[in-house]
Symmetry: none
Subunit: 155 residues, 2 copies
DNA sequence: TAATCAAAGTCAAAGAAGGTCAAAAGAGGT
DNA sequence: ACCTCTTTTGACCTTCTTTGACTTTGATTA
């Protein structure tokens, strides 16, 4: 692993996995001490790697006995999961967010790696030769259509 | 070897070979220092010698813990077939022709049925909310990008 | 209840990579 | 010599990460 943020990300994901419950509750200061970084780095890690797009929900509480709770969004039914993501896409979608969503689809085995690469390529700003307000709208449209196809085309 | 770019090219290829994994991850600044050149020379080497056409895929990340990852991809017998289709696509592509091409890809087992459906959906005129000269151009662009991905990203 | 302590949150600056682009320099060919 | 193509360089840009001062919120205690 190359940097602190990646290391902490892996650590938290392992915690979630090991818990067997898709949830983990941490003390920010405690983790910061364990990895010898400032506490706010935890906020950075969470904000960049445990977002909705990535398939996580985060709750927290301040003050004495405070905590940060990270929950992996349940992807029980593929339909719900896709509906959730679709709603998250809205009518505009940046390349960044698109990547996160595709990554999430891949991690949840909704698409194969090859499919993920195809979808990414299509939505790359290089491919969508458009200026900005339109490009993000087209990207959103495309991804939602793809999700529909994924949903209705199998089984 | 007569120039720095060739030397670096050889060096990187040797690294890939020795790794046994078809992948190598480097730090741009580190290599630059090793060969006593400016960092951007690495970009030049990569852009001229590690392209898709050469059978490589390159990913990178900026910022702390950044890297450049070069992956060698097998270029199989599909290469010619896809090159042929790509050339057939040209700069513009109607929905009709797109369908035919995708059908052909499917029949030749270059894509799965699901992949075919995804690609079709993306290129549907409903999805590409554009007026006509542009729509056909975008469709062509997309399909060619998809073909590149199929060709250079496998395994 | 007010004061205090114990978390977590925010935000912006500084730091650490890699990317781009065009000008300058070299190499080969005529 | 002159032209063209490739390589080398460097100034400037964008993206991602780290850090820390300051804020907000919740719990405890006087």
């Amino acid at each position: 692993m190359r940097n602190m943020s990646d290391i902490i990300e892996q650590y938290l994901k392992k915690l979630i996995e090991e818990s067997g419950t898709e949830v983990v509750e941490i003390k920010r200061a405690h983790i910061a001490e364990k990895f010898d970084c400032v506490p706010s780095q935890l906020n950075y890690v969470i904000k960049t790697r445990f977002t909705n797009e990535h398939g996580y929900t985060v709750e927290s509480k301040r003050g004495g006995g405070g905590y940060i709770r990270i929950t992996k969004v349940e992807t029980h039914s593929k339909a719900e999961y896709l509906a959730h993501l679709k709603q998250l896409v809205g009518d505009q979608l940046s390349q960044q967010n698109a990547k996160h969503i595709i990554q999430s689809l891949y991690e949840n085995e909704v698409v194969t790696q090859k499919e993920a690469k195809i979808i990414s390529a299509v939505m790359d700003r290089e491919t969508l030769m458009l200026e900005l307000p339109y490009r993000d709208r087209l990207r959103a449209k495309i991804l939602k259509r793809v999700m529909d196809v994924i949903l209705y085309s199998e089984e």
